[in-house]
Amino acid sequence: MSSDRKNNSLTDTIWNIFSSVKLAVVVFSIISLTSIVGTVIEQQAEPERNIKLLAKFVGENFAPTAFRILNTLGFTDMFRSWWFMSFLFVFAANLVICSLDRLPKIWKVVKEPIKPLAPEIFSTMSIKREFVVKGKPGNASEKARAVLKGNGFAADVREDSGAFQLYSEKGRYSRLGVYVVHLSILIIMAGAVIGMIFGFNASLNLPEGNVSDIAYKSESMQIPLGFEIRCDNFDVSFYDNSDTPKSFKSRLTILEKGREVIKEREIDVNSPLHYKGITFYQSSYGYSPSKDSIFKFMVTSNKGAKEEVNVKFGETFAIAGSGVSAKVIDFSPALAMDESGRLYTYIEMMHNPAALVEFSENGQQKYRQWILARLPQTWKVADGTVEFKHLWGAQYTGLQVRKDPGVGVVYLGCLVMTLGLYATFFMGHERVWVRFSEEKGGAKVFVAASANKNKISFEHKIDKITKELQA
């Protein structure tokens, strides 16, 4: 190889730069510092918001200019900018080359099982103990083997010229943990790239009863789904006496060429629907009333006859077996009462739906009553009970629609990283050598040991082993 050196000097230089941990520090720092800017400047936001923010730092006069500069440099959408991607790329290249550069050396260590130590090496090891025990070296080493075994070290024996040496190691492969961690970072980045290239992120507001075969990446950019999705129902429930949503749920149906392939699957915020690589997340909801919205009541007459009623605004329905008829003549999605007792709608969302129902008998108006879906005490009327179940078709479900074929790869990377970190931090390569040689009145014992991790607790372990050997 050395003859190629001259020709390859450029590659060599690049290799040397990219195999240094110093570059990693520089790239770490650049990524971190620019990211900090990215957390201060609001990303993908209206320009006015950031100009207002900048005014706090550089003053009103200079803020628009500062904004223009930052905008040109890509800081207003920096995590997608070409230069930020380049830094991530340099980071990845650094990681690959750094690991490749050191791998051969580590690989040699990992491939090579432990060997006995030459006697003169014992005294040069960082952890060493020396003492004398009773008995012949052979017998003593047999006993010592059991001690090592009891401490998790299965030892081999080597005899030469009357001396016995036990040697054993644990966790040799844990030295590769670091490389597993580094590899996992690359796997995750690969997964992210796959998602960016082959995936999309869109949204869809689908009113109850509607069908769509597209989602929207932006107002003007549509993405065909390749199948149809229908919202059968949307429902939001609230914590008692409050407008804090407790859960919101949609029932969705997937259709292929008009045929229902997934029927009325319920999704909520933490449980999405997956179909053909596309995932639908419950992300929001809203109010979009129409003339065709249907009031769903459960009507019980005073005699106990029960009937389900579905009517549109203004349509008449009867209270079974009573001669009384009724119709909805007013509606509020969120009814409230002000101090003077006047009713008003406090938010254009269906947070507290209320229907004003007019009751008639023999063509004569009898009375009117506000019936609130969330207040059972308003359901009771003079001629029975009108339970307001739902106004169907007046809300849309806000779906996040995503396709990301890289997610599996990202998760695989996460799993690999977890295993690698476990090996790196909770396992270590530990080695012990014990040598027994002839000595007047017994056997002379040399203990030597090394560990690449957690040296202090390993030394405690060696102390314990030493004590047991002396016992």
Partner: protein, 321 residues
Amino acid sequence: MDSSQFFGISGIAYILAMVAYIAYLVFRNSAVGIIATTITAVGFVSHTMAFFLRWKEFYEIGQMGILRAIPLTNLYESLIFFVWCLILGYLIIEWKYRNRSFGAFITPIAGMALAFIDISGMDKNIHPLIPALQSNWLLAHVTMSFTSYAAFAISFATAMMYLVATTDDKKSAGYVFWTVALGIFVSVLLAMGIDFLVFRVAVSSPESFLKSYLFKATYRNSSGAIVLGSYLAAAALIFAIWKFGHVLKNIITSFSLSPDVLDDLTYKSVAVGFPIFTLGGLIFGAIWADQAWGRYWSWDPKETWSLITWFVYAFISMRDF
């Protein structure tokens, strides 16, 4: 008694313990040390009771079942949990190493977190969970994140002690670094203490607590003179610590703490904290975000800052090479 009273007791206990540990460090009187440990332990018991009481209170108003009522759902509850992990970790270390001198370095971190809760006007009320927060991934994410932050806080304290014990050349980078860092830490803590005395004690109307008083008595005061004075005082404090820092070295080394032990503890705390942070903080957080919003990573400020934190600890883990 309700949970907030027990939290109150534990908060007072930790602040007193901080004072006692510092006194112990200075006077080396073992009775003071025993008192410090006792106060900490009492605070910890009260803290634990408060945690379970709040869980019960949350369960009663939460309408979501017992698992969804674990009080770990907002910044206030998470910080309280962080302090709990920190104190637990500290008590284990004190017991395992039979050495109380760590206390003077770790309890101030707890003190700072508690003071921050009190003067930043953080919302302490129990709120029912919005749908996005109803996830077991979130639960694992928050628990593990704050456990790892406690481990990192311990490594900060022991690394600081290591620097104190190993540097004495006033011009060396290590010495300047630790004296300035400790100086900033102490001046921030003192400023928070002053905020607490001026606003929390002097202002009595409960509504006014909902506003943030952080540094309003000092660095962010409306009077320019007080601001200037505060910065000068902080600078003077940092200078004094730089000037007399070697005294601290003598104190620490007199507690028969070898730098090796401190370094080992620092490494161990990071070695425990980093994998937990990676798995719980980043990976579980990403899985949760993926399920709730359909994006495992969206570069929002919280995520970005965790990534920066992770980079820092990744680099620290690799420092030996």
